[in-house]
Symmetry: C2
Amino acid sequence: MRRDIFQAIADPTRRAIIALIAVHAMTPNAIAENFHTTRQAVSRHLRILTECELVKQEFQGREIYYSLEIDKMKEIDNWLKQYRKIWETRFIQLDQILLANKKKKK
Amino acid sequence: MRRDIFQAIADPTRRAIIALIAVHAMTPNAIAENFHTTRQAVSRHLRILTECELVKQEFQGREIYYSLEIDKMKEIDNWLKQYRKIWETRFIQLDQILLANKKKKK
DNA sequence: AATTTGTGAAACCAAAAAGTTGCACATATA
DNA sequence: TATATGTGCAACTTTTTGGTTTCACAAATT
């Protein structure tokens, strides 16, 4: 049961959880209130997110506060970097074409 | 069978296909040579990628060249943007703390 | 001490995903 | 025209996923 970050963010509920706890740490019960599923289902999503370290726990008595491990999000950004390079060069190329056409018009 | 971009990139084989065709357009057979699965399995991955418009086809006789629809990748970048904002402000905050400490030392 | 509350985990189930095999079909090539 | 090649698709199977129900257990509260 090897889970990676990309699989973690594939589920829309998990992305919603991420968006929620990005603002501030929340307990599983508080998180579950925002969804139409059971608390246990949310708990499982949290386990998956914790397993791949996208989320961290902070124990406070019997309550557990979950918050986003923002550094882990950078891994996605890092993967995207190679493609960002592509669309940026394309943009520059397009820019140069537009510029060349402008000159021609003159 | 609603598929979104995040589900599309969840599969490691599909990410590998994306990486391959990002360099230059390739036919399904050429792509399949790089994997241990059957050509049909790769074909299915290509269908999924095409359905969510991450990939485009170019017909050339009986061959089909697949290439990356780079614009679609920006959607992931767009989603990531909100979190990038978080880690950048954290970085600035850390920076200010370090600066403050430096001043104290003096 | 008894009860309530917050939580995770296991067992089970339905749905979806990913793979394989076998096919159909159109385009090249002999 | 007959055959080879490149491709997609449907049927079937196995594995994975996401959900629910039921439990266990520790920390608060009564």
